[in-house]
Symmetry: C2
Subunit: 349 residues, 2 copies
């Protein structure tokens, strides 16, 4: 399986996802500012992968720190705020960084060298933890995947988006491994085309049958009875079950409801924001107009100065979600109650 | 106003729509095979514009014909079948050609020269007829456009798609001219991007406020209360009111229904196929995979050999349509009954 994020030879190695499928280029990062930039530019994306990247980034920010412990913690807090600001919607980013802080707090009396060592080990453990959670999501997801199944998905939620085999795509991979006859329809996912570039490439590489469609073809696909199931990922889930995910997800959920097709969200518990009561409270990142106006930042598709509306995410309300596939099992309605029950399982370390 | 199709200096002049907005290039056509190719390649598109183009194409096919009248009619029938095969879904194409044949039939005894002359005059009259019908569609549409209105549209249905000011965009243009405060959200309309390339360019040129969005953003736009009205065009309407239009239209109709937003189709009566009982009988043109895989046939966005599903159109059932805006007024449910009432008004010449 491809590795989106890896720690190798004392550096963070990221697969540059902005260049796939044209080129498979790995970038070696040793400075926190490069990590911040890599997250902003979508060199690395996918909520869990961003969290892991930020954890390693925090270590990079502090590994050459020369002050005493109290200053170390002050600097760490500053760096956490800096890294968390790279993508405001993905809660895993903040969650990963908070997890590290919480795990270090009991060790405030230790010398800086020991704290640095702990921080590095925590980042690695967070990575391994995500790998295992991906496997579990894939396993639990089998309950909703029949022996023969055409699955519609959006954006990229596979190995490229996580520290393991993915979230929504973990369910696909596990089904494929078990010999189920799965066929994926991948939305291209404008404007950044994560579906066309990343999901198609991943599934091709893994030998899973896939057809690429434009986002606006999903409705006709459902109308013609060609999709049995929709599975998508999430970037943040509020405690009422509302799920923020890549723009276009909400539309799929409405269409699935209309066509009576099950619509599942697959995400690790680190995606849940228990402090957020409602989906409407999730901050939505607005991105640059040129993402729409220029494909791959070079192929201009419209009048150069046309105004655009470019939200990176939308929010799907719980009433449109058949279930949320997590590492702790599938959460179903009533969401507020059932989400509360798994809150303690979110903890890491 | 821009002219997509024009007769000038003894030739058919088409604005090459595959090159807009980058370049404004007009092509001069004098052979029917070039006209056929121009329709297939989408140099000219939009159901009414295709019909007019084909009418001039039929004249080009026959203007150098040297046989007698019976042979002239045999050759004309052959050329009609040839031209009509260029785009199987757009019924205006077949309708325009059939109209010319019907209008010539009473003159079978006339010499070939006279038939050629009649054919040319009929093509010009058909063009002028479409121009007038566009104006009427724009006028009738005012009944559903409030003084201040945010209109979501799909594909291109303006001057570039017709012989006049358009169908769905005619409604926008007339509202703008009357001083109504209209703001358009234009879907980019993958895979061929008619919205991003053509609609944005047309509206920009005409000074109508417009925002470009990706197709998958329409649902979030509606969810946030930013769209008051959806107006789209049509390529063929069955006698039950089902409307085939650019892929993505059906999804918008479902989303509009869910959000209780009025959804209107604007089309001339030549778009109605009274012989077709149901929407499911409308043939849907499947197009090349490379339309999806390569933006503008050059910017590869995915794995080069990935399989795609690329229907050019989808069919919106009548229960999702608030009304069909035609040159004879707005047709509403019950559609079968009300469509039958206007059948005689479809006639040309």
């Amino acid at each position: 399986m491809i590795k989106a994020v890896e720690w190798k030879d004392d550096a963070l190695v990221l697969l540059d996802q902005t260049r796939i499928p044209e080129e498979t280029v790995y970038c070696r990062l040793t400075e926190v500012s490069d990590v911040f930039e890599a997250i902003c530019s979508l060199m690395v994306r996918g909520a869990p992968a961003i969290g892991i990247t930020a954890a390693y980034g925090l270590y990079l920010a502090l590994r050459n720190f020369s002050g005493e412990s109290p200053q170390f913690f002050a600097e760490m807090n500053r760096q956490i705020d800096y890294l968390a600001s790279a993508r405001p919607t993905a809660v895993n980013l903040r969650w990963a960084l908070e997890s590290l802080r919480q795990a270090l707090l009991p060790h405030q009396d230790e010398p800086t060298a020991s704290l640095k060592d702990r921080l590095f080990k925590l980042a690695r453990a967070l990575h391994e933890d995500d790998r295992q959670r991906c496997d579990l999501i894939g396993e639990h997801g089998q309950d909703v995947v029949p022996e023969s199944c055409r699955i519609l998905t959006h954006c990229n939620t596979g190995a490229l988006a996580t520290g393991g085999i993915g979230t929504a795509l973990a369910v696909v991979y596990k089904a494929h491994q078990r010999g189920k006859k799965v066929h994926v329809y991948a939305d291209e996912t404008r404007p950044v085309l994560q579906g066309a570039r990343l999901t198609v490439w991943e599934l091709h590489t893994a030998g899973v049958p896939v057809d690429l469609i434009c986002d606006n073809m999903a409705a006709a696909l459902m109308q013609q009875g060609m999709a049995d199931l929709v599975i998508v990922g999430a970037d943040r889930i509020a405690s009422d079950g509302s799920a923020a995910n890549k723009i276009g997800t909400y539309g799929l959920a409405v269409l699935a409801k209309y066509h009576r097709i099950p619509f599942y969200v697959a995400a690790p518990l680190s995606t849940f924001d228990f402090n957020l009561k409602h989906g409407k409270d999730i901050p939505i990142e607005m991105r640059n107009n040129d993402e729409i106006r220029k494909v791959f930042n070079r192929c201009l598709i419209t009048v150069p100065d046309v105004s655009c509306w470019n939200p990176a995410f939308d929010v799907t309300p719980p009433e449109l979600i058949s279930g949320i596939i997590t590492e702790a099992g599938i959460i179903r309605a009533p969401y507020r109650e059932n989400i509360q029950k798994v809150a303690h399982k979110q903890l890491f370390a």
